[in-house]
Symmetry: C2
Subunit: 390 residues, 2 copies
Amino acid sequence: MRILILGGDGYLGWPTAMHFAGGGHEVLAVDNYLRRTIAQQTQSEALMASPNLHARAKLFESLSGHRIQVQIGDCADFRFLEDVVRSFLPDAIVHYAEQPSAPYSMIGFSEAQQTLNNNLNATFNVIWAVLMHAPDCQIVKLGTMGEYGTPNVDIEEGWIEIEHKGRKEKFLYPRQAGSLYHTTKVLDTDLLWFYVRTYGLRVTDLMQGPVYGLSTQEAELDERLMPNFHYDDIFGTVVNRFLVQAVAGVPLTVYGKGEQVRGYLNLNDTLQCVGLAVEKPAANGELRILNQFTELFSVNELADRVQRAGKRLGLEVKVQTLANPRKEKEEHYYNPVHKGLLELGLKPHLMTEEVLSDMLAKIIRCKEQIDATKILPRVRWDTAGTKSGH
Amino acid sequence: MRILILGGDGYLGWPTAMHFAGGGHEVLAVDNYLRRTIAQQTQSEALMASPNLHARAKLFESLSGHRIQVQIGDCADFRFLEDVVRSFLPDAIVHYAEQPSAPYSMIGFSEAQQTLNNNLNATFNVIWAVLMHAPDCQIVKLGTMGEYGTPNVDIEEGWIEIEHKGRKEKFLYPRQAGSLYHTTKVLDTDLLWFYVRTYGLRVTDLMQGPVYGLSTQEAELDERLMPNFHYDDIFGTVVNRFLVQAVAGVPLTVYGKGEQVRGYLNLNDTLQCVGLAVEKPAANGELRILNQFTELFSVNELADRVQRAGKRLGLEVKVQTLANPRKEKEEHYYNPVHKGLLELGLKPHLMTEEVLSDMLAKIIRCKEQIDATKILPRVRWDTAGTKSGH
């Protein structure tokens, strides 16, 4: 298959590109390095410096024999994206091309504006490039479990049948997200659903939970092929951040009561899920929504697991509670369904002590590069509104 | 009160500005003439040419003694809007500043892109200008009943309590709109709700049905103060369009089966509703959603009423069924609640034969200006996706 990866330089995009290329598909990876730019601007650089996309693709080809084409440009620019789609004519587009940080989107006006316009226009342009030039191409869009928020009822997979005053209707499951970033993903879903039902596009919208992981099968070929690994408060997801804190001797920073529950998954399972979505596509006119995670944990449980895994390696890991910089329920009901991907064939890699110890061991080798000033939260949800940010 | 009207040149914006000014409020009307520009580009000019906003404000002041300040600029440009809000410091903002045509948003890529970016950025900028410079100012936002679509269950006022698997939660009522324009209003509501619950803004989101009407109390002072009245397929709402067709001797164009039911209201009731929303504001942290219409009619019922009113004036009005250019259910359940505005004090002006005859009589005086080529639908939903529009 011909697979276009938008956001191909990212934490998920680059491993996805290698994974599909390794599987014998024709892959084109596109990125404009927005995440790298923001990481520099906010002093949130990854643990290990990654070569640029062209260099990584060249290295990967020399080691594996599998080619990844690369194009640098902005998916929020329609003329660019249209050219890419018209000339590559993909069978599937994996759309990761969004500003991916919730805290960044909450810094102030300019960051919020950039997040809104980048994310919405990228999605809008993907829709239109497909409509005009590759109407049978499946769009596989990375959404987030955060679109749903933490409602007091079970979270279904994208849709809900409601009985109301004696009548029934099936609706998109109502969404209520906790940051502007997550809200842009809600808007993406609204837009995709409008164009799917109006023009018969085929779309899979993956509601993904926080991902953890440091490497993938293809990345094992060479350290320079590793996904960019963030441990900071802007781009670092909680498990990755905790593991670095454990190695750096910084107490694990639990926000608030630590009873926030989310659905997590291993980076290798992201590759599996996206692979399954591409190989078993949605039908024309179908918006298929899949909840993409494998296990539920509270933040306190994560801290506990990292502590135990650290002990195995002789690390003394402490836990410190911080005032919650976010606006979120710290104690809440959480029972999301996640059957669809298992039915498609997902075989989960669970968060065992071995998996965590293995990640810790790799991070220990980079211990010198850890900058502890990047770990503590620098963005507070409750003050962001008053900052002009420009 | 200090009231800022965004989109102050529009069919609703201009009468609203006069109405508040006439009521003794300080009014600033802002517009960038986007609707006039699009009307020219699509050959959809209004029945009567209106003087520009400065000229109309001057005329209104000379006749009524009430001043309306005017500023010309683009609300999707944050620097402009921020300056306006920072210097005028409104108590309330009435936000009409959106590309208002569903058919226009369905022409092709460029029109869809313009609608998305104009509408979302205008709303985003209003939110941020208020957050930064007038946090206690109420935003009164014009949404649309079209956000809800035509679900098979009762439509509540903005919110719904759902019982699901034995647990309960209150959600934003799930939305599913029939055009990209209507979908941008769904996204507006999502954005407003995120910022209301995060930063405690006060917002009233008015879910308005199609409006009909040709004049208001203040416009009676001089013909040049009349709202711009569209009867074309791009900007003309169905009742206004039917009345012009009746006068022009063009059969009333019913799309499809004509059993599409919507909630309608008189232009004078829009003024009342917006007035009530401004005078009795939402609380801080409240997104108050009100369904703004007074009566339900099917398209066939409207055609019938126009026919009967025409007969009174000696017009022989025919009805012609056209293949539906839109994608919508032509037979459907429709039972939307509309209590909130009545509870606030709305006294409806109903669509009596007298009201329709009065409008017909006024239109007859402009009969020479009717261009029948503007009436038939020029935009088909099902082919728009294939047009690049640029």
